[in-house]
Symmetry: C2
Subunit: 385 residues, 2 copies
């Protein structure tokens, strides 16, 4: 019987790590940002959310399971996404009389991360991108990634960029309804495939302040923030897009580090101050500086989201210098098991004067993740329910 039929679609969606940071909303309900942002989408081989969306007439309520645990699906943000997706499905059903009435059915969404859902690992970005993509596929919506990004943004701002692979932007937009606040592709992963990242997972502790609460405290109280949003970021957006298009790593690195520090400066200027970076983060900053000094140019660039983990970008050609240095001090940590990690030799000679920061990293880093630029969401027949 048709009523017993279960419809399903599954997708993988990637994490993205911003290099021009999103911080601050001009509309908290629609997640409309105070400035545009840019990110690199990371490979789903290393970091991804796997989500199956299913529906059937038998289901009595919408449910969401993440890593085996039931989640509160009634949150305004998740509801906003589901409402928009159902509305698009209704339009489709109205046009095609034979289309099953999936918009009338309850949804069962099951999601799994292949990485710890830890502070600052951008799990909500991948999570909402996967949720929106999976339901859109289930509903067979003809929506473009840009259109879906508008929906995913309402779940979690930075999720909109995870609808694209490679080098993605999120234009802040101007309209009150947020219809022009969407993500776009600056360049696909294939344009600059040499981009790599090593993530130094600094701590699985709870965040100092959630990013949602933190960014609005910054908007409300920082004396520097508006200057960042209105003057600093717009110039950097142009320079960074150009660097991405021209595969100019030196400029990419300089801007990435500057903008991470500028964002954390605004956090510190918040009342009360927000501290996301800790001693381990600062040791990672100093180690990157030492590696770049040793190389005589910027071969690696740190960036920190709303947590202490360092994401260090570098190019494939510099892997032995960058990752070899980190392996020499962090070789005992989890994360080197795969073929990529095995292939990297720990450098015997580390940059000068790094003994203390090397000890701090040994003490504070719990694991490393090796990854690189990757593609956007991918459909899969591997269903979780």
């Amino acid at each position: 019987m048709a009523e017993e039929e279960v419809y399903r679609a599954s997708t993988y969606a990637p994490v993205n790590i911003a290099v021009i940071k999103y911080w601050g909303k001009r509309d908290t309900k629609l997640n409309l940002p105070t400035n545009s942002s840019l990110s690199v989408t990371l490979s789903q081989d290393d970091l991804r959310t796997h989500t199956t969306a299913s529906c059937s007439a038998q289901l009595s309520k919408d449910t969401l399971l993440l890593n085996g645990e039931g989640q509160d699906i009634s949150s305004t943000r998740t509801q906003a996404c589901l409402r928009e997706l159902r509305s698009l499905r209704q339009q489709l059903e109205a046009k095609h009389a034979t289309a099953p009435k999936l918009s009338q059915m309850k949804l069962k969404i099951v999601s799994e991360n292949n990485f710890p859902t830890a502070a600052g690992l951008a799990s909500s970005a991948a999570g909402f991108a996967a949720l929106v993509r999976a339901v859109a596929d289930l509903y067979q919506l003809p929506a473009s990634p840009t259109e879906l990004s508008r929906i995913a943004r309402q779940g979690s701002g930075s999720a909109c960029r995870s609808l694209f692979g490679g080098y993605a932007g999120w234009q802040m937009g101007e309209k009150d309804d947020g219809s022009d606040s969407v993500a776009y592709e600056v360049a696909p992963a294939s344009h600059w495939p040499a981009m790599r990242a090593i993530i130094l997972v600094a701590s699985a502790e709870k965040k100092d302040v959630s990013s949602t609460a933190g960014m609005q405290q910054t908007v409300a109280t920082s004396a520097l923030f508006q200057h960042r949003a209105n003057n600093v970021v717009p110039k950097r957006m142009n320079m960074m897009e150009k660097a991405m298009k021209e595969r100019d790593f030196e400029t990419f690195a300089t801007l990435t580090m500057k903008d991470s520090n500028n964002f954390h400066a605004c956090c510190l200027d918040t009342e009360p101050p927000i501290f996301y970076m800790n001693e381990t983060s600062r040791a990672a900053v100093r180690m990157c500086e030492a590696i770049n000094k040793e190389a005589g140019r910027s071969i690696c660039a740190y960036t920190f989201d709303a947590g202490p983990n360092a994401v260090v970008y570098y190019l494939k050609d510099d892997e032995s210098s960058v990752v070899g240095t980190f392996k020499s001090m962090l070789g005992e940590k989890t994360g080197w098991e795969g073929p990529r990690g095995q292939a990297i030799k720990a450098l015997q000679k580390t940059p000068e004067g790094v003994e203390i920061i090397s000890e701090m990293l040994k003490k504070g880093v719990s694991r490393i993740i090796l990854t690189g630029v990757g593609d956007g969401p991918r459909s899969t027949n591997d269903h979780l329910c």
Copy 2:
């Protein structure tokens, strides 16, 4: 014989800790700042430099001894101070034919701090204030504190404020020759004598970056700094002077904390980033927040100079709540020996949720110093040479 006569004068000079911070020079030679600043002068009973300036025809060169160690007196900054003072003495000698020709003699300057010459304890401010005051007294110059502040500023910017007691300002001035970049009294210590401070000495380690080098890196590279200097500080100067005059501790506290964070935010926004605050500093921030939350109003205010030490201002009436809380976790540290420290009872009940930050303070604080607002430089007959 007159040639063998030794002339001497001695002074004590105080430390000051800014509440609207000086950071950034518009002229590095004259130490002309990019913004005005305000500070509280601390009691010389607790923190002071004791300096004797002497001269005689027998001396063959200028010498400077600090805490028993010979110092390089040839530095541009020390030389600028001595040149200005000698020039004023020459003018005096030209007017008074009987005045001994001290300006022709070499100087022997001996200086001692009654506190560790450690990172971030404003030792250069007290040091240059004492040097200038002692030589001015030796030369019997009729110069006012304001006139001497113009000279001391050339030794170390913040030293100009240490020529005044109580609540002192440093107006940035506009002239290229720096003649209007001088300190002034906002209010004497007697106007608001209830101001106290506990200093949590976090570390005697070497600074991350010297403040002289650090501030010019900030001026040159921070995207936020000009906004601080041109827009943020001028408003705060007016509000803070008013708070000092009206003895309004709540406003004083709010602005003090905001401006400390704003200054350190600009340090973090520097390329490469400068970190003066460490985990201990951040624990001190959180503890002050907890104490204020417990009290239901701002009864203490943290501020950090170019180092990790916390200076926590409070009023005498709130001593048991503020210092009692710190004594409950830091009672074993050095610094409670004097009658003031002995008189304070460790609170049995500490604010809620402070266990972790309490442990961090125990681990990171090496000693405490109890002090309060105090007077300007004092002459003494206790000569060091």
